[in-house]
């Protein structure tokens, strides 16, 4: 299971991939940030198309492991997350660090691009906005709370926020 409603435990992801063969272990944590384009964020709410998200995560992990001779662990959290909570965690372990870094980077980029997960931001001013629709697209780059890596719909998109 790549998706979880529980807090992500980096230690257990590390344990999944550590091995006497592996000298380089790269990891990435995506955490909920307190700001987005100058606006104060209170929390994020993640939802997913779970069976497809699980299948897509499995494909991404297999691709990375095949391309870089490494072991990859991946978890994405869904539900309500508060500032500082980890939304996504990736660990890639390989004999050498080049492969570990490349695999880790590949997995986070592909997760953002391909896995059917959505988040909405709850702002300090009470507004609630789905990331990636309308406003989200205009915000420029960001880690969590931006849509720059999301698959864009090949047509028009909602012009106003969905409350």
């Amino acid at each position: 299971m790549y998706l979880t409603a529980d807090p992500i435990d980096l230690g257990s992801l590390l344990a999944q991939v550590q091995s006497p063969r592996h000298g380089g272990i790269a990891s990435f944590l995506g955490a909920v940030r307190d700001h987005q384009a100058g606006r104060s964020v209170i929390r994020l709410e993640y939802s997913a198309y779970q069976p497809m998200a699980e299948a897509e995560c499995a494909r991404i992990v297999r691709e990375a492991e095949a391309q870089w001779d490494c072991a990859v662990a991946l978890k994405h959290r869904i539900g309500t997350l508060h500032i500082g909570d980890v939304a996504v965690a990736i660990v890639a372990a390989s004999a050498h660090r080049d492969e570990a870094f490349a695999a880790c980077r590949y997995v986070i980029e592909e997760v953002k691009r391909r896995v059917p997960i959505w988040k909405r931001e709850v702002f300090a001013d009470g507004k609630v906005e789905w990331v990636g629709s309308g406003e989200g697209r205009k915000r420029g780059s960001g880690e969590l709370g931006s849509s720059e890596d999301g698959v864009e719909v090949a047509g028009s998109s909602p012009e106003k926020s969905v409350k």
């Binding site: 959505w118 990331v131 989200g136 719909v153 090949a154 909602p158 012009e159």
Partner: protein, 87 residues
Amino acid sequence: MTAVASTVTIRVLLFASYAELLGSDSLEIVLDIPARVRDAVERLRALPGAERLPAKPLCALNLTQVTPDTPLRPGDELAILPPLSGG
């Protein structure tokens, strides 16, 4: 065998902002044969509140991403996906 059906019934799943637009995260629709993904989307866009649904949203049929041309068969599960924002 029963008589050849002239319609196809599919399950549509809606997520995130699209579920809010349509006020539902799952509905069944019946389409005339032959039916393609684009026909299902067109039907959805005629529903109240759905005028802001894009004409060509990201779609997955039975968990795999598909194009608007993909034919629909009875019992298919068609998911209409808003722009992804995981991570």
